[in-house]
């Protein structure tokens, strides 16, 4: 059963209750959907920003600076940070440490780092579910910060109203970003560390790639903002560009259709998760275990066994 008291406390912005609710929705059990259905009437007011890019491009720094900027406007900011490469690059670990001393003690900021190991997929589902909790708790802005490698990270970045791709002026970075699928999801770019040599060439290269894309006068054209986030340069411009994109989306009535597309992706993921849970009942697991010997001995292929299990499932439900 869901705990109505907990939900009341979320609405009252009780930090401990928010953290607890996020843990519940992350655990992805039968309660997850009950809680998310209950709070949904309070969801939808937060503006969601995705910040993505390659490791080391300075996403955490930009997130931190933007958060401080929004805090000066008295807006409450929730941050959901996901970085599967962090064990090796050390990026998120360092970023988290800076973050905690910088903005972590501010009661108008809520930060959640998400573990990605062993999550067996469903990472974007969890991140978006957690955002709903923060949204219901009255946060004005929610920032998804994810590294731009891997499909689930791209999925999270795309679950935002405005998606920002952060690049650094390194040789060919813009071409690589295009290959990595970052060009299609960017509402605008931040060329960070633009005090480095080669910055102007990188800017021109990125501009060239953007011009190749089809567009007409009714469509949004992604801009490129130059910045040096570590020196707080370009942060005002980034905030302004977010506003300009938001206004464009509302004026052209694109805002709801974008949210509709996101809802569609999300619903599909929820359906698939729920069906998977029903599928792997004890019966299915047992019949699978019994068949394994035949597969190892080469008598039946995994595809044969899979078909048998599907038939069984269809008869069961």
């Amino acid at each position: 059963m869901i705990n109505i008291n907990l939900i009341d406390k979320i609405y009252k912005e009780d930090r401990r209750s928010i953290a607890r609710a996020i843990s519940i929705v992350e655990s992805n059990n039968s309660l997850t959907s009950e809680y998310l259905k209950e709070i949904y009437k309070k969801v939808g007011n937060a503006y969601r920003i995705g910040i993505t890019g390659p490791p080391g491009s300075g996403k955490s720094t930009i997130t931190n600076q933007l958060t401080k900027y929004f805090r000066k406007q008295n807006k409450k900011v929730g941050i959901i940070a996901v970085d599967p490469t962090s064990p090796f690059t050390g990026g998120a670990l360092l970023g988290d440490r800076v973050r905690m001393t910088d903005i972590g003690m501010d009661s108008g900021v809520f930060i959640r780092s998400m573990a990605t190991r062993g999550s067996l997929g469903g990472l974007s589902k969890k991140a978006i579910d957690a955002a709903d909790v923060l949204d219901a708790a009255g946060f004005d802005l929610i920032i998804f910060e994810t590294v731009g490698v891997g499909q689930s990270e791209l999925d999270i970045a795309q679950a935002a109203d405005t998606t920002i791709v952060v690049l650094v002026p390194e040789s060919g970075d813009s071409v690589q970003a295009m290959k990595a699928g970052l060009m299609e999801i960017a509402d605008f770019f931040v060329l960070n560390k633009s005090d480095r040599p080669g910055s102007q060439q990188a800017y021109t290269a990125l501009q060239t790639i953007l011009m190749i894309k089809d567009h007409d006068e009714d469509s949004w054209l992604p801009n490129i903002i130059k910045g040096v986030a570590s020196e707080n340069k370009g942060i005002d411009e980034i905030a302004d560009e977010i506003d300009r994109h938001k206004k464009f989306m509302k004026d052209k009535e694109l805002f709801n259709s974008k949210r509709g597309k996101q809802a569609k992706i999300r619903i599909k993921e929820i359906v698939e998760h729920k069906l998977k849970d029903e599928l792997w009942s004890e019966t299915s697991e047992n019949s699978l275990n019994l068949s394994l010997q035949k597969v190892i001995l080469g008598n039946l292929s995994p595809y044969h066994i899979a078909e048998e299990i599907i038939e069984e499932f269809k008869n069961r439900i």
Copy 2:
């Protein structure tokens, strides 16, 4: 319908037919399972090796050197290389170029690089399906080379009979590898670039971590092999350790149970893929599209709509 002529040509090791068959199984349509069921009787003889580790640890170099080693023994080698970080690190691109001049022209070697962008999951399924094609075509060894970030890359590395984790002597790399889940999947470690400063400390740190793990005299203890793959140092030792692990698995009758566990994971993935295809029929898509407006207006949560779609699906099948 499947093309029996194509299958015959696979068995005759016709390279163009092998490449074509892999493309068919990668495309993941209704033919995929038909082909894989048909060739399964010839599958199971290849020994499968997983090579994984952080970006820049030298996985490609080790794969290339090992391949040359096996070729001297007249064994045929298939390589399936997967690296989602490659657009940024440049790793796989460079590795591929070296590889092509090094071993790419050898008719006893077949190399397949797998794109990971936009694959919408199912990457490990595709890699394992492709390995079945190479197995049926008579390759003696199949090497899965994947970067050790992200769940699907770990899944691929674990689909091998022997899994090798490559690390370099960098401060705290072994601790990070443990956090990343690489410790649990390693049958042994290669400490590559071990001519670098700090190599002995890294070796000791790794050894310490390995000793923490529970083990008894019947269980396999992962070794650490030092190497400098770029100078071909340690390659013989790696090949010997693969043999030693293989012999241990067979002697202790662990070989088939490991393959059984892998088959189980694989069958589950196939079942889930097939059900997903049936789920998103035109009917489901339409009813989903009709519901989106209610979600955007906040009248119904995505979880409500998901439950409706599941009910509909159950009634349909």
